[in-house]
């Protein structure tokens, strides 16, 4: 079952790549400064808001945006929609890059980073009450699984390499991966289900300091649903952008169906949150008129708007329309997750947090690095569906 993918080709060091490289370079310098100077001088973090942009955005929101691989795997492997296969490789690649960089953000965020190896290796000290331990172990494992899932794209190219050893090793590895594929794919489905829900469980421990608009035992389920909807939305955007950037025929009908499938997920999230607020007797908080109630209403709006935008089949066939709706879906889920970690957290009136310039520079550097890596890989390795493959499919 080949994905009929081929490298995009073309020059690597385009002007856009050079700009991105500068952003990455600035981020890298600031990273070094953070590691040498510590978190105090470089971040706006404090004892009231000990977690900030790097966790709430890079990790909690970033890994959800990197759930394209998870979403597509659900679609192709569980719902048995084989025709979406061309979307798998680019989605898995984005996921692998997104998760790797989220892991790197954690490394920069933790104060005692030189001990990070102890988390997976000191198994006799593991505290199974800690949702964070589960998240940490799952994400570490998932990064490995994702790169194994991307590996065939690299190995396929290297199986035609001129170097004999590389060629042999690639061919052997490809065969081995094909045999283990099912269990790797199943891991790729299990691990995100576990850690994405646990990212919600994690904030339950803040209980009394988590604002009632977000403090619900449904957090794990809400986090799981939002990561799936965001994952699908990212696949729609990514596929559309790739088709424009690399001048390929957009797979519009496929994307339209995909976008339509997210709508019910979004509706369920909003409905469940409203029902939960009513159940807990906190519905009135929505009318409080403060910043928190406003943000929840914006979260709802961002999740409901795509349902209206994509109401007819004609609208679902319009690429621009699709992308706009998918972007709103991404923003809706992202805002909800970001809010749960930062806005909903109430350590006390005398504490405040707004990310510092170095924090922002590091986060933008990481995003730029991800985009650079994506472009470089799709140009060099068979990730995106080839032109021939797409036209064949259209004809079929």
């Amino acid at each position: 079952m080949k994905a009929h993918a081929e490298p995009v080709g073309g020059p690597l060091f385009t002007p856009a790549m050079r700009v991105l490289a500068v952003v990455v370079g600035i981020g890298a310098v600031v990273m070094l400064w953070r590691l040498v100077a510590g978190l105090g001088p470089t971040t706006a973090l404090n004892d009231g808001y000990p977690l900030g942009l790097w966790i709430a955005f890079d990790v909690v929101t970033g890994t959800a945006l990197a759930c394209g691989g998870y979403a597509v795997a659900i679609l192709v492997m569980i719902l048995n929609k084989g025709r979406y296969h061309p979307l798998v490789r680019p989605a898995i690649l984005t996921s692998a890059l997104g998760y790797s960089l989220a892991g790197f953000s954690v490394f920069l965020d933790i104060g005692r980073w030189w001990y990070i190896w102890k988390v997976p290796l000191y198994f006799w000290h593991w505290n199974f009450d800690s949702a964070l331990l589960e998240v940490a172990l799952c994400i570490m494992a998932y990064v490995v699984v994702l790169w194994i899932e991307v590996a065939p794209a690299f190995l396929e190219k290297w199986s035609d390499a001129s170097n004999l050893l590389l060629r042999r090793m690639s061919r052997v590895s490809l065969r081995a991966l094909e045999k283990a594929a099912i269990w790797i794919i199943a891991l790729g489905l299990l691990l995100p289900t576990m850690h994405q829900s646990s990212l919600g469980t994690l904030m339950l421990l803040a209980d009394s300091r988590l604002h009632p608009l977000w403090n619900t035992r449904l957090l794990p389920l809400m986090f799981l649903l939002t990561c799936v909807s965001m994952g699908f939305a990212v696949v729609v955007c990514e596929s559309a952008f790739s088709s424009v950037a690399f001048k390929r025929r957009p797979e519009t009908s496929m994307l339209g169906n995909l976008a339509a499938a997210i709508v019910p997920v979004q509706l369920v999230v909003v409905a469940m949150r409203l029902a939960d607020l009513a159940w807990r007797g906190q519905l009135g908080l929505l009318a409080a008129g403060d910043i928190r109630s406003l943000l929840v209403l914006i979260e709802f709006g961002l999740m409901l708007a795509p349902a209206v935008m994509l109401r007819s089949a004609a609208r679902r066939r319009d690429l621009g329309h699709l992308v706009r709706a998918a972007m709103l879906m991404m923003f809706g889920g992202a805002l909800y997750r970001f809010d749960t970690y930062l806005v909903a957290f109430t350590p006390g009136a005398h504490w405040s947090y707004f990310p510092s310039v170095p924090e922002i520079l590091i986060s933008t550097g990481l995003v730029a690095a991800e985009i650079m890596a994506y472009i470089a890989v799709v140009k060099t390795f068979p990730i995106l569906a080839g032109r021939t493959a797409v036209t064949e499919r259209q004809a079929a």
Binding site: I74, R112, Y122, S130, L190, S198, R217, L224, A261, V268
Partner: protein, 293 residues
């Protein structure tokens, strides 16, 4: 042919299967109760004169740098718990009502910081005291998110930072001494002892002088109970002690976590199911592809 509503719903059901148990939380973890050996402090706000001898003694006993925030250099005058202050005396004054308040780690019966901690760097150890082992800490600061009293502090200014919080002078207890703060208190406003004895003493004081105290020992059941107990004549929340239910947050979170991950059965079953479904669908898709050729 689009993705049918049914398929989309099916997807959500499969996706939500693992988390669904999380919301039902049927398997209620047993409540944690204080051990017989548990020790702690009893702070009587009506006796404290705010001399801050405890604050200085704590700094000395724990080898902390001076925190000059309140008075400028040359003084140890912390305004709040910090990476340089494991205890602090605060003054509450409003509407002619005044009271001092001593803050330090509450040594919860079921501590949220310990529940949060991945490798058990913060953990209830001997005498139920929550102590810190830097060798097991990666500096993730999840303990700071979890603690309802905002107690654990992080050494923000250090490149090799640690978590700082009161460990009830565990090192002094080992040497047969009592905590520094109780040793120096000239009014015995804060005393050290076994939690059960302290609780009895607190109740005795309330019974002896009911007009002097609010009829409540803070920490007896609050947040699942703490090993540091408080007596006061002004409402506890005005002293900065939060209103918490009797069910501690870790126990709630544990119910959610354990209902899904108990003995790791659910994830393993889910893994098997996912593997089986993947196997079936991959075969199906491969056959279909062959048929097209």
């Amino acid at each position: 042919m689009g993705i049918s509503r049914r398929a989309a719903l099916k997807g959500m059901l499969i996706g939500g299967a693992a988390a669904a148990g999380a919301t039902s939380a049927s398997a209620t973890a047993a409540a944690v109760t204080p051990t017989e050996e548990a020790v702690g402090l009893l702070y009587d706000a009506t006796l404290c004169i705010g001399c801050k001898a405890c604050v200085s003694a704590c700094r000395e006993a724990n080898d902390l740098e001076a925190d000059p925030t309140g008075l400028g250099p040359n003084y140890h005058a912390p305004l709040d718990l910090s990476e340089r202050a494991k205890t602090v005396i605060k003054l509450y004054a409003e509407d002619g009502e005044t009271s001092f308040m001593k803050a330090q780690c509450m040594h919860c019966v079921d501590p949220a910081c310990a529940a949060a901690c991945m490798l058990g760097a913060l953990k209830k150890r001997e005498f139920g005291i929550v102590t810190y082992d830097p060798d097991l800490c990666i500096g993730c600061r999840y303990c700071e998110i979890a603690c309802p009293y905002n107690v654990p502090k992080f050494q923000w200014t250090k490149a090799a930072p640690k978590i700082v919080k009161c460990e009830l002078c565990a090192h002094r207890l080992k040497a047969g001494l009592e905590p520094a703060c109780t040793e120096v208190c000239p009014r015995d406003a804060v005393i050290f002892g076994k939690r059960s004895d302290l609780l009895r003493e607190a109740r005795r004081r309330i019974a002896a002088e009911p007009s002097r105290y609010l009829p409540k020992v803070y920490g007896e059941t609050d947040g699942g109970g703490t090993q540091v107990l408080y007596l006061s004549h002004v409402p506890f929340e005005k002293l900065g002690l939060p209103v918490l239910g009797d069910l501690p947050a870790p126990s709630k979170a544990r119910n959610v976590q354990r209902s899904v991950y108990h003995n790791f059965v659910a994830p393993l079953v889910l893994y098997g199911v996912l593997g089986a479904v993947t196997w079936r669908n991959r075969r199906h898709q491969a056959l279909e592809e062959e048929g097209q050729r």
